[in-house]
């Protein structure tokens, strides 16, 4: 019976203009040693030129398919959370709200509009003896 009903039920699909793929990389940067341990090595040059740290360690990287107006929560080490909400999807740009929280404290709440393909770096909160850096990529 359920299979019969499913045959006639309309397929639930999400329109392309309401989703956007994001590649998120989580790093901990510090001045302890000179390790450069990145699986996602695409932004090595940028990290070296943008930040004054001597050591960069990748702790995680995820691929997320964000839906518009739907909040996505990603758990991070040291009790941090990254909340992503896709707000706007246009032909060449996406607008997303990114929030870094720990418990009740809001470390960073930002809304960025990214021209695809594009990347933005978020960071600053202390984590694992260093500083948390999040690389947000879309459109690749």
């Amino acid at each position: 019976m359920a299979a019969f009903l499913m045959m006639f039920s309309p397929a639930v699909s999400v329109r392309a203009d309401e989703t956007a793929k994001f590649h998120i990389t989580f790093l901990v940067a510090s001045n302890e040693g000179n390790d450069f341990n990145l699986v996602n090595d695409d932004y090595r040059d940028q990290l070296l030129k943008l930040f004054s740290y001597t050591s960069y360690k990748q702790i995680d990287d995820v691929l997320k398919d964000l839906e518009r107006s739907k909040r996505e929560v990603i758990e991070l080490p040291d009790g941090y959370q990254l909340m992503l909400t896709l707000q706007v999807v246009e032909k060449g740009r996406v607008q997303v709200q990114a929030m870094i929280r720990k418990g009740n404290q809001q470390y960073l709440d930002t809304v960025v509009s990214i021209l695809r393909p594009g990347v933005v770096f978020l960071g600053g909160p202390p984590a694992q003896g260093g500083t948390l850096i999040i690389v947000l990529e879309t459109g690749f």
């Binding site: 940067a29 040059d45 940028q46 030129k49 943008l50 930040f51 004054s52 740290y53 607008q95 990114a98 870094i100 404290q105 809001q106 470390y107 960073l108 709440d109 930002t110 809304v111 960025v112 509009s113 990214i114 021209l115 594009g118 990347v119 933005v120 770096f121 978020l122 960071g123 600053g124 909160p125 202390p126 260093g130 500083t131």
Partner: protein, 158 residues
């Protein structure tokens, strides 16, 4: 001294005496000698040039006019080449200004197609409850990279 007939007569007598003295032949000869010695006369050819040059110039002008080398324009007679032919109104071409049939105005759709340089990342909001957020952009390998950072002690390269 008023005009006295006697005085007048005396003056006349004195003048007559002087004239007689000066007009004596030997005096005349001395006068001539003095003049020729102190004021020599011009040579004959200069005397001739002073007369001949102007005369020859006049003659030359006369010859040039006769041959038509020099001519005096007749100001009373208009030159045909100086006058442009008059175009009658009947022959003149008719010139009309055409009004444009349609003025091209960029429609909103066209305006959208115009290439506009937009930044790759626009940060519309950045707030924090624990520190000062900062938006930072720097060109790395000719590509602008945007960083949204909250300061809690860690630093970005300046």
């Amino acid at each position: 001294m008023k005009n006295d007939p006697l005085e007048k007569k005396a003056l006349e007598s004195y003048r007559e005496f002087l004239a007689a003295e000066v007009s004596r032949p030997e005096i005349e000869q001395q006068k001539r000698l003095f003049i020729t010695k102190n004021f020599p006369s011009k040579p004959i050819w200069t005397r001739a040039a002073g007369v001949m040059v102007p005369a020859m110039a006049v003659f030359a002008l006369f010859v040039l006019f006769q041959n038509g080398v020099i001519s005096v324009p007749d100001f009373n007679k208009a030159q045909i080449s100086d006058v442009k032919p008059v175009v009658s109104s009947a022959d003149a071409p008719l010139v009309t200004a055409e009004a444009p049939s349609r003025i091209e105005v960029a429609s909103p759709k066209k305006l959208k197609k115009i290439a506009v340089k937009v930044p790759p990342v626009m940060v519309k909001r950045a707030t924090s409850q624990v520190g000062q957020p900062m938006v930072y952009q720097r060109k790395v390998n000719e590509k602008p990279i945007t960083v949204v950072w909250v300061f809690t002690g860690a630093g970005i390269k300046s």
